[in-house]
């Protein structure tokens, strides 16, 4: 833990219960990175509004103050804009009869302000648990056992609790739940649910809220007044999804988490929703996280991509680069396993084996080794080091070996050293 000079020391009991010693090398690697980028200071600064790659940024920057009535808590963040999020060393464990098992382990992930990040993973990859952790909403028997989630303007969400946390959800973090199509109350109109939301967040001017909601719905191509008057069953799947997005954004959250936003939607509706996500993201100046099992969704919508497997992020980087030339064998296999419209059908291959479940995730070594064709002896025992090339990070022994052979990058060496050290430390303990 002392390897995080920029962070406050985590709560002692967290540290004590942390099973994360073995993943130190990976983290030392990444923490070094985040230190370098030095985002936290940058974010608070006034220069932020000048972000060039954000179309519609300038008009939007005035918006929150304009929309919120005076005296609103919103006023406290006049410059509230796309926040950055830094997840570091995050571990979430679930209590089971077999003891506490990690669903998510030692995740380091950064959401760059104003970008869309896509997290891809199969069932059991921990992607939904990760999404819930951003709101500190992991339900028992699960709990966040280590790490931090720093959100600009909010601090470490993991340490928030009670009312502060409740307020943060909705006002700072908008969450569109998995199967948002079915998460509306069937007995109440959308408008009523909107007012409930407003009241529970102590919005003074509910009329303003309704106007905002209508505007948002209109922006997404719907008749706002009509939708607010409708019950859930009167709306199609795509429309409900849009209502979900509206409810996540209407309190002016600038960090939005969408969990499987297009699951169970038709292709054409999916394309529409993805387009809307992209457009709203740009217009309102958001930081967006999209969680999905579908690589296609991420490819369409995300600027950056993180691939999860067995509770770890195995590869992350700019979407175009990662998809164009994936380096982790899992990413490669996943892309090859997706039926495509063009190219030779014969090239497509299913990945052998099956994704691990909570109980079958290997406790040591690489989580993907069971299904990996590049598996080596070291994969059984050692956590794969994180190799970074610019923003692109891969956690794989095979890639590490290759990189070393290529000419020995300094950071790889550092990673291996760290790993050896951590291993030694663990041995002493045992």
């Amino acid at each position: 833990m002392f390897l995080f000079p920029t962070k406050k020391a985590p709560a002692p009991e967290r540290e004590a219960s942390s099973p994360e010693r073995t993943s130190l090398p990976e983290r030392s690697e990444r923490s070094e990175r985040s230190e370098r980028s030095g985002r936290p200071e940058e974010l608070g600064g006034p220069e932020r509004s000048g972000r060039s790659e954000q179309p519609g940024g300038p008009e939007r920057s005035g918006r929150p103050a304009e929309v919120s009535p005076p005296g609103e808590p919103e006023k406290a963040f006049p410059g509230k804009k796309a926040p950055g999020v830094r997840v570091s060393g995050l571990s979430v464990v679930y209590r089971t009869p077999a003891g506490e098992l990690p669903a998510v382990r030692g995740i380091d992930l950064e959401l760059v302000p104003g970008t869309i990040t896509g997290v891809v993973g199969e069932s059991g990859s921990g992607k939904s648990t990760l999404a819930l952790s951003l709101l500190n909403a992991v339900q028992p028997p699960g709990r966040i056992s280590a790490g931090s989630v720093e959100i600009d303007g909010l601090g470490d969400v993991v340490r928030l609790g009670g009312d502060a946390l409740r307020k943060a959800r909705g006002r700072h973090i908008g969450y569109v739940f998995q199967a948002a199509q079915n998460s509306l109350n069937p007995l109440k109109t959308v408008g009523k649910q909107l007012l409930d939301l407003g009241r529970s967040h102590e919005v003074d001017d509910l009329r303003e809220l309704v106007r905002d909601a209508k505007e948002l719905l209109g922006r997404m191509g719907m008749d706002g007044a009509r939708v607010l008057d409708s019950h859930q069953h009167e709306l199609s799947g795509g429309m409900r999804q849009r209502v979900g997005i509206m409810l996540a954004l209407v309190l002016n959250a600038h960090l939005v988490v969408l969990d499987e936003p297009t699951t169970a939607l038709d292709m054409i509706t999916q394309a529409t929703i993805l387009r809307i996500i992209r457009e709203v993201h740009e217009e309102r100046g958001l930081t967006t996280l999209v969680i999905t099992h579908d690589l296609g969704v991420v490819a369409e919508v995300a600027d950056r991509l993180a691939v999860m497997y067995g509770g770890r992020v195995v590869e992350q980087g700019p979407t175009m680069e990662v998809l164009g030339a994936p380096r982790h064998p899992y990413t490669q296999g996943l892309i090859r396993a997706i039926p495509r419209l063009v190219g030779d059908i014969g090239e497509a291959r299913a990945l052998p084996g099956r994704p691990p479940t909570l109980g079958t995730i290997p406790a040591r070594g690489c989580v993907f080794r069971e299904r990996c064709h590049l598996r080596m002896a070291v994969c059984e025992t050692e956590e794969p080091p994180a190799i970074s090339r610019g923003e692109w990070i891969v956690a794989c022994h095979a890639v590490a070996a290759e990189a070393e052979a290529e000419g020995g990058r300094r950071r790889v060496a550092a990673g291996t050293q760290g790993s050896a050290k951590a291993h030694g430390a663990k041995g002493e303990q045992g």
């Binding site: 292709m267 394309a271 993805l274 490819a299 063009v342 190219g343 099956r354």
Partner: protein, 336 residues
């Protein structure tokens, strides 16, 4: 050989007589699936493709039209007599979780239909046991591992394989796979598709694939036939590869345009077609059914109803007054 002519189905929504609303699920669909052939029904939810699949599997009745199985028109038979015919057509459900009885082991699940057959043909118990193992091996499962287990102890992919093995217990002529991979982990989907393809090649089982994802339909077989269904009507029909490379109906083009592009690997097609938003078109039946969403509609589309017919000089059929090829499908990025 299984054919259907003019299959029509209307659902009457329950409720009071006054509020009863009719939903036309199928409006006179023709199809023909050869022995050992492959066909795919493509369309959005609500297009009627699932209803059609269920009618073909004998699980649902239809209002008008004729289903002919191996030359025998089903309307000439009484319901009891139809059963052996429809037994040759087995439905693979979308959801392998609900398709297997959670209180029964795989062994029990497979043995029930096998016992029935053994009784009918005077085969022995050991034949049943042997056949169950054989079928599990055929679908790529280890019988020793799978047989004593309950469905919840298997992964989604394994469950779907058990479902397929169960369908094979009656030596079916055709498997109707209704979105059979949509609830399975991405990395395992192709395995199930490959299995269906393999069964077709090795056992000569024809496969009818029902999906909203055109890309998966490609994997069942290149010689497969594609039916694009919109609101209960076939709007385009032809060989899989032809329709993917040269779609002429704007709806087919919309479907193909909507498939996500793997940026970095591929680049989007040149003329993607984006349909206009569908708003209460459910009751709008005059003219072309797609007219209200079609970006290329003309006055004629609003008043006249296009019928499925051959396009000039091609093998595919379409129901559009203004057919035009558009390159909508993503292309490999110019790497390498």
């Amino acid at each position: 050989m299984i054919t259907g002519q003019g299959i029509t189905k209307t659902f009457r929504q329950r409720g009071s007589v006054l509020a009863g609303r009719e939903v036309k699920a199928l409006r006179g669909v023709d199809f023909a699936i050869k022995k050992g052939g492959a066909a795919s029904f493509i369309g959005e939810s609500g297009s009627g493709k699932t209803t059609l699949g269920r009618i073909i599997a004998g699980l649902e009745s239809h209002d008008a039209g004729e289903i002919t199985i191996d030359g025998t028109p089903m309307s000439s038979l009484r319901p009891k007599q139809r059963q052996p015919y429809f037994r040759r057509i087995q439905l693979i459900h979308q959801d392998p979780y609900s398709a297997l009885n959670p209180t029964r082991t795989v062994h029990q699940t497979l043995n029930a239909p096998l016992d029935l057959r053994a009784k009918g043909t005077g085969r022995s118990r050991s034949w049943v046991e042997g056949r169950a193992e054989e079928l599990l091996e055929l679908v790529g499962l280890d019988p020793g591992y799978v047989l004593p287990r309950y469905p919840h102890q298997l992964s989604g992919g394994m469950r779907q394989r058990v479902v397929i093995a169960r369908a094979l217990t009656v030596d079916p002529e055709m498997l109707v796979a209704d979105e059979a991979v949509s609830m399975i982990d991405v990395s395992l989907r192709l395995g199930i598709l490959a299995l269906l393809k393999d069964l077709r090649e090795r056992l000569g089982v024809s496969v009818l694939f029902i999906t909203h994802d055109v890309a998966t339909a490609r994997y069942i077989g290149e010689d497969g036939e594609l039916y694009v269904i919109y609101r209960g009507q076939v709007v385009e029909r032809g060989h899989v590869e032809t329709i993917i490379s040269d779609p002429v109906h704007p709806y087919t083009q919309s479907l193909l345009s909507a498939i996500p592009v793997l940026r970095g690997l591929e680049q989007p097609g040149e003329e993607p077609v984006v349909p206009t938003e569908a708003l209460d078109e459910g009751n709008h039946d005059a003219g072309c059914l797609f007219a209200r969403r079609c970006p290329f509609r003309t006055g004629r589309c609003e008043s006249e109803h296009p019928v499925l017919g051959h396009a000039e000089g091609t093998s595919q059929e379409h129901a559009c007054f203004h057919p035009r090829r558009r390159s909508v499908v993503a292309m490999p990025a110019g790497r390498a």
